[in-house]
Symmetry: C2
Subunit: 405 residues, 2 copies
């Protein structure tokens, strides 16, 4: 059986790595804090008797039995975080994977099929885009050299940062080809809690469209420039944000739209902004509606040249179609939850996950546990210990079946 | 007569102090670049035979004849700049004042009344608020200790920065009490150019209201948080920007409204902003309309708690009522322009100026010269050399009259 206390203890210890002065966790991909978290994880893997391998994009694989890389059951997630993050997002799935191997070893299991516990690089995509980068490279969806060339907003190059923190491995991306893939994760949304259920058997994942928009207007004096003469990049950005809420992601639409990052230049109180740079995150479970949302944004941006006298450029940061997970694997998850007497349902995922990428090369599914208040990407992110334990138990049961198959 | 070539040369030389990597001028108040600019100016003043005195807020006064501080005709402006500034804003008036003294000295004038050339600290108000700080302290409108305690967005304290750059003088604020005050400045707006006139005799200056608004929502996941559950501080900020344009500063209103600075937290692509902090700059020549604009903003901010589920706090950064300048001085400016055969008109100022503060303690007026395209607070700010020369000539004529009175 899973050692629940050790799992919870490790979650807290890993969650303590990368706290900022304010006390919040910020362990962005390929920072010093990420290195510290990786070192901690790799140490725990070795202690547990796993063999640690690192590939060229920095994905970490813990192999059991050692030296067995052929066709493993892969259990994965990530340990990088957003800014001011919670401690569960990603880490829970990786540490639960490790706990599953420990439980099987302790029970003296002699698996017909090996297990690989994976921690994928840069799942969050806050510092380097796209998100789910490590698993996307693993699945062959992004060229390794393109990934290593990604640049953050300070001009740091991903490949250099990876080498700096000592995680530029030599394993070829995708070398460890999974027989199938399972990911246990907190829901990060309100569905399970609202329904009073312990387990989500995740059968699909919505599409994600990320863009960066740059609007160029003209700086001028706030006190002397008549309204009609203004080319206010900040106002134009505000119009886009309102459009996305009012016309694209209205309360009854299936589409979500978020502008999470926005910067003005020169960003001074008495200067009309000459430039606004912001991100647009669009999501929809239906590919057609996601395209319609992108089209609506594109048309609105075109109109801004006319209405606000600005110029607009867009850059694609990420684009993933909705994914359907493997029905057989999803069925195993639901059945395992049922055998444990846990309330469960099939559901879709609002967040992007590494499983979405690995689904391109292997049967994949996910297990969700409830998030209190549906809060995530926030220091207040919380899942009750009993729910964390239940999720790990279901993962154990499913993996135990799969390694005999 | 004014040495026009020297004036233009000094403008270029002072304008070269504080260039950033991009080539634009950013000489924010009390930075190292400000120190360099001040050293250059003080050196030129001493070379020209003026006595340099510095007061406790760092205002620089060049006195001629030396040791004469009683009841001078004061000619002033400022040499601090905004971010990515032009080279004319402020510097032109200070350097023209110096050129006037040099012209009078060279002509062997023996004035009945002394002259003080003033460079006031932190007129722009970009780094420390309020704007026109040095002249406001000089006029007794802001306590010196309160001014020295002002803090910038990095937590630097004004008094410490002033000492650091060596311009914490010992002269008591307001000790040099002007008999009257003149300020020559580029218009920074489109009026004179559009009218084909060389000189503005500035008879009034609009009211200025500056506030900082902080909106607090809740960070959450961009992919999992239903629209109805969001408390999006960034969206709320966008709504305020749109309200200011659509309901407060519409194309036909007399009011101007500008949101020049805006920052999101945590400012990440897949996180709903938990906080938005932005500035609001409202201006109107009519005090009643300015108050109505402030009221409209306050009501809209109150409504945001209801409509967007956010909390809102405001902080007053500056508040100045509209000012009418001294009619007799304005008349002298118009008459001098007329005698020189220069096209001119009486006009109002859209920008705030040190003259607006000094008008509280002495008769004051301003002289404007055209700004090409009405562009200011922008590296493209430009005034033709002939216009710069004409403005300085008018200033000389008026000062020559005043020092005999
Ligand atoms: N699970 C998670 O938070 N992934 C980050 C990528 C996303 O924004 O959905
Ligand atoms: N003249 C000038 O640009 N002053 C700065 C204060 C303002 O914003 O009006």
């Amino acid at each position: 059986a899973i050692d629940h206390a050790r799992l919870l203890d490790r979650l807290q210890r890993l969650g303590a790595v990368g706290r900022t002065a304010s006390g919040a966790l910020s362990r962005l991909a390929l920072t010093d804090a990420d290195r510290e978290g990786r070192d901690l994880l790799a140490g725990w893997m070795r202690e547990a008797g796993l063999e640690v391998r690192v590939d060229r994009i920095g994905n970490i694989f813990g192999l059991w039995p050692v030296s067995q890389v052929a066709d493993p059951v892969m259990i994965g997630s990530h340990i990088d975080s957003v800014i001011d993050a919670g401690i569960y997002d990603g880490c829970y799935g990786v540490l639960a994977g490790l706990a599953v191997v420990e439980a099987l070893r302790q029970a003296g299991a002699a698996p017909a099929r090996p297990i690989a516990v994976a921690a994928f690089t840069n799942e969050e995509g806050v510092r380097f885009q796209p998100d789910m980068m490590g698993s996307l490279v693993h699945a062959g969806g992004l060229d390794i050299d393109a990934a290593l060339a990604a640049v953050d907003s300070d001009g740091c190059v991903l490949g250099e940062e990876l080498a700096r923190i000592g995680y530029a491995g030599d394993l070829a991306p995708g070398a460890i080809r999974p027989h199938c893939y399972l990911e246990l994760h907190i829901e990060q949304g309100p569905v399970l809690e609202a329904a009073g259920l312990a387990i989500g058997a995740v059968d699909s994942l919505q599409g994600i469209s990320w863009q960066r928009v740059t609007i160029e207007g003209a700086a001028n004096h706030a006190g002397t420039t008549p309204i009609a003469a203004r080319r206010d990049a900040g106002l134009a950005a505000a119009r886009v944000i309102a459009h996305l809420r009012d016309r694209v992601a209205g309360a009854n639409a299936g589409t979500l739209a978020t502008v999470g990052s926005l910067r003005f230049e020169p960003d001074a109180i008495n200067v009309i902004p000459s430039r606004a740079v912001f991100t647009v995150d669009l999501r929809d479970p239906e590919e057609e509606r996601l395209q319609a949302a992108e089209d609506s944004l594109a048309r609105f941006l075109e109109g801004l040249a006319e209405s606000e006298g600005v110029t607009v450029a867009t850059e694609r940061l990420a684009r993933f179609q909705p994914v359907r997970f493997d029905p057989a694997l999803v069925g195993l998850v639901a059945a395992a939850a049922g055998r444990r007497g846990l309330g469960h349902r099939r559901m879709t995922s609002g967040a992007g996950h590494d499983a979405q990428m690995i689904a391109r090369i292997a049967p994949a599914a996910m297990i969700f546990v409830p998030s209190r208040g549906g809060i995530s990407h926030n220091p207040a992110e919380f899942t009750a210990p009993a729910d964390l334990a239940a999720g790990a138990d279901v993962l154990l049961d499913v993996v135990a079946e799969l390694i005999e198959a």
